[in-house]
């Protein structure tokens, strides 16, 4: 039986368990003339839980572990020379066996035929044992739980405890995600830093991750100095912020201080649409339209521009993060109490003087925090730079030249087909660690700024 069939059967058992539990509790209370402690459906929920949850857990576990156990069993019974070949070849062989067993073609090779036969046998056996264990567990759960059903049993409390624990489990998934991210990037990074010195990685000025395939190959030793990537990332993010901060801030000021409610109702959602457009669309627009436009513009001004200049990617990225700056600034500017404005007007200040000298200083922590969040967004942005910035790792602060960024290199390192533990793959994880830490620090600073410096007016 396949996973789907067993799963459907378990769902049917769940419904059956609910029905039986409910009926049985009613019958018991009728017979003993005793009032039930809880509502009948609480007993039903309880039986339904015990008749499906443990079995489901085992089913999931089995299905996850099944393939790796079977694969190692097949490898173990192969002739010795096969077992000594490289991990790649063994994996290839296993894939071939699996494909052959599905296709049902007659096989001439003796070893393969044997392996396919063995594979089919194992799969069948595994399915058998899996179904047996799962259903035994399901029925056992149901009957044992049914035996516990008594009118004085506190079913509701038990059900509510179950609900509460499962909700805690869901909330913990967020924590597990963070732990997973930290562990996965740190583990791989530690292996990476065993082959590449940390300082060479952080401050090395030469990035060319191509590794030698043959021993005698020239110029492919692979050097991992990530400084050009960091500088490139900072350069593009800087250009983006130069666009996003003035535009976003001025839009927010106009929308919250000057505009009529009707204009605001129209303009605010339109501005926020900028944040809803997928980044791959911005990337395409940057590569096809903005970059050639800027290059032509530069040429007509007599500048020599690379067609993958940092400027084009930065400008488009800046437009993308305008809403982050504008909506956060809008919120904090609106939160400045009217009394401050009235006080300023009473002293004879014009509206713009009030904004510049009273409102902006009062809202500054919030605005800074919004800008920091936008910066963290720009540093982690991937698709725009992948499509519009290049792969050439130039160490330059000139926005007219092509630069590459951390995220571009991560994509370049990981989208090819390579072994999982090659230095190239590991380098991507080291870059990921840097990216994660940078954005984390920016977020923490932005929270801290608001907490520490924002005045409370209420």
């Amino acid at each position: 039986m396949t996973f789907g069939v067993i799963f459907t059967a378990l769902m049917a058992l769940l419904l059956l368990g609910y029905y039986i539990g409910k009926k049985r509790s009613i019958r018991l209370s009728d017979k003993s003339n005793q009032r039930l402690h809880s509502l009948p459906q609480h007993y039903g929920y309880l039986i339904a839980f015990w008749s499906s949850a443990p079995a489901l857990l085992i089913l999931l576990f089995w299905s996850v572990l099944e393939s790796s156990v079977i694969n190692s069993a097949i490898i173990a019974q192969l002739p010795v020379q096969f077992q000594q070949s490289s991990a790649d070849e063994v994996e290839l062989f296993i894939n071939e066996i699996i494909n052959l067993s599905h296709s049902g073609v007659t096989i001439s090779d003796e070893v393969k035929r044997h392996a396919v036969f063995y594979y089919n046998e194992l799969i069948e056996f595994s399915n058998w044992v899996k179904s047996l264990i799962v259903f035994v567990l399901a029925f056992m759960g149901m009957f044992i739980a049914l035996a516990f059903v008594k009118p004085e049993m506190k079913a509701r409390n038990l059900v509510e405890r179950l609900i509460r624990w499962s909700m805690i489990g869901c909330a913990l998934i967020a924590v597990l995600t963070t732990v997973g991210i930290i562990f996965s990037v740190i583990f791989e990074s530690i292996i990476f830093f065993k082959t590449v010195n940390v300082f060479d990685f952080l401050f090395g000025a030469h990035w060319s991750p191509q590794e030698a395939i043959r021993e005698d190959q020239v110029g492919g030793s692979g050097s991992f100095g990530a400084l050009p990537l960091f500088v490139g990332t900072l350069l593009i993010s800087f250009v983006a912020l130069m666009i996003a901060v003035p535009l976003g801030l001025m839009s927010a000021i106009y929308l919250s201080e000057y505009s009529s409610p009707r204009f605001r109702l129209f303009a605010k959602p339109v501005l926020e649409m900028l944040a809803g457009i997928p980044t791959v669309v911005y990337g395409f627009f940057a590569a096809i339209t903005v970059a050639p436009f800027i290059r032509d513009l530069g040429e007509s001004l007599g500048l020599s521009l690379s067609s993958e200049s940092a400027l084009a990617a930065g400008i488009v990225m800046g437009v993308m993060i305008i809403p982050f700056v504008s909506s956060l600034s809008d919120d904090v500017i609106s939160a400045v109490p009217q009394a401050l404005r009235d006080g300023s007007y009473a002293m004879g200040a014009t509206k713009s003087e009030t904004i510049k000298q009273v409102i902006i200083p009062a809202a500054l922590p919030g605005i800074v925090s919004g800008v920091l969040l936008a910066a963290s967004r720009a540093i982690g942005e991937t698709m725009i730079v992948v499509m519009a910035a290049g792969l050439s790792a130039n160490l330059t602060f000139n926005p007219l030249e092509a630069v590459t960024t951390v995220t571009v290199q991560m994509v370049a390192l990981l989208t090819g087909d390579q072994e999982f533990d090659s230095t190239k793959t590991l380098a991507a994880f080291a870059l990921g660690l840097g990216l994660f830490l940078t954005t984390l620090v920016l977020n923490i600073i932005s929270l801290y700024v608001v907490r520490k410096y924002q005045e409370q007016y209420d």
Binding site: Y258, V280, V386, T439
Partner: protein
């Protein structure tokens, strides 16, 4: 005294001018942003719109069994492997007699798409009686012809700079004069999977892939996110260190770059659990982790907005806290929760970077059948096509973007409508 008033008056004009300028700066900031948005949308739709049409070529095909190399015309296996390419090429030769030279002959063959032979094959297998008859058939035109028909190739350019040479233009003019070229609605774009040939490439595979990925994402992230939000908002003890840690965590996760979630998927789901690459299941898992913070944060906000009097009334009537929450608070907060979920799903639908990390960038021509079939998704398809040099792919990329934006607009409208309805009720 008078001079002071005068001074102030003079200064006042300057200050008012400044005021005016400041206001104009603000307005122009909004105008620039909106202008950029508009130019993006207009640019994409003008390049993408032609892709919804496709040029077809009409050819009189003489389905000669000798050319097909076919003896028994009712043997299905023989019908399947017969030489349809030769038949198509021969028909083109009869249409344009006297073509000389290897280069010109090759160009002639390339007027029609490679799919012509398969189209002919399916036709013959369905109805073997048409063998040894003459049929007038419409085939897909090659991408160069298609681009020309949509005005993408300028005749006035010197021949060496053109994708179509002079002799090819002569053929096309002849075809046009005989009404053998026609632009029709490009149904293939919506019914076919990816292809190396632009005229055959469609987005069905990517759309189904996106749908399956979104299905996995929704089935996982909605219940988990809502349950987590309910716990944190309604049940979690206040001022508890562990609860604080969970909350800070969720807020931080919301700002982690999406590409990092791809690394997590690569290291944990693929590296540790051995889930195969590039299937919707793993794409959905990664996107679930990415959208969870969005859903949790917005669900908490809408749970918080439910007035405490509802809780107090239910508790006062003797309901337990779980009953209060699930029978009264959650239903009241549901529109807000759903709005947040839809926005989270729209984000996930447009996401590309983490899916590149887990290998959803492979070229896959087949339409996926289930969540464990290799597949790609719409944004990744856009990324793949944008890399192709053919002009016809550029317009298809824009068309795919239009489809993606269409889905996103529908989802966001749904969220807006829901929010409006919710606000009216309260």
């Amino acid at each position: 005294m008078i001079s002071n008033t005068k001074k102030i008056k003079n200064k006042l004009a300057k200050r008012y001018a400044k005021e005016k300028r400041f206001q104009i700066y603000g307005l122009s900031a909004i105008a620039v942003s909106i202008a950029f948005l508009l130019s993006l949308l207009i640019n994409i739709s003008t390049t993408g719109f032609p892709a919804f049409q496709q040029t077809y070529i009409n050819i009189d095909v003489n389905i000669d069994s000798k050319l097909l190399n076919l003896v028994d015309k009712y043997n299905e296996k023989a019908l399947f492997s017969a030489n349809y390419r030769k038949v198509v090429n021969q028909s083109l030769k009869t249409l344009f007699p006297g073509v000389k030279g290897r280069k010109q002959k090759k160009a002639l063959r390339q007027l029609v798409s490679k799919s012509a032979r398969y189209q002919l094959r399916d036709l013959v297998i369905n109805n073997p009686d048409i063998i040894n008859t003459k049929q007038s058939l419409w085939f897909l035109a090659r991408d160069d012809v298609d681009v020309f028909m949509k005005g993408g190739i300028d005749r006035s350019l010197p021949e060496s700079d053109r994708r179509l040479k002079n002799f090819q233009l002569v053929w096309i003019d002849k075809l046009l004069a005989e009404n053998r070229l026609e632009k029709r609605f490009n149904i293939n774009f919506f019914t076919q999977g990816d292809s190396r040939e632009p005229e055959q490439a469609g987005i069905k595979g990517a759309m189904i892939g996106s749908l399956l990925t979104m299905l996995v994402t929704m089935l996982l992230s909605f219940p988990i996110g809502v349950a987590a939000a309910i716990y944190l908002e309604e049940f979690a003890p206040k001022n508890n260190r562990w609860v604080d840690i969970i909350e800070i965590n969720i807020n931080n996760l919301a700002a982690v770059p999406s590409i990092v979630f791809g690394l997590l998927g690569l290291a944990v789901f693929i590296g540790v659990f051995g889930v195969p690459r590039s299937i919707p299941l793993i794409g959905g898992l990664v996107l679930t982790l990415m959208t969870l913070p969005t859903i949790i944060i917005s669900s908490r906000a809408s749970l918080r907005a439910v007035s405490p009097s509802i809780r107090e009334a239910a508790l006062g009537l003797g309901a337990s806290r779980v009953q209060t929450t699930f029978h009264h608070v959650v239903p009241a907060a549901m529109p807000g929760i759903l709005t947040g979920t839809i926005i989270g799903m729209a984000q996930a639908l447009g996401e590309t970077a983490p899916l590149l990390m887990i290998g959803m960038v492979a070229f896959i021509a087949d339409v996926p059948q289930g969540i464990t079939d290799p597949s790609t998704v719409l944004p990744v398809q856009i990324y793949l096509w944008s890399d192709s040099p053919e002009r016809a792919f550029t317009e298809r990329t824009s068309a795919a973007i239009m489809v993606l934006l269409g889905f996103l607009i529908v989802m966001n409208l749904l969220a807006v409508i829901m929010r409006r309805k919710f606000e009216k009720k309260r």
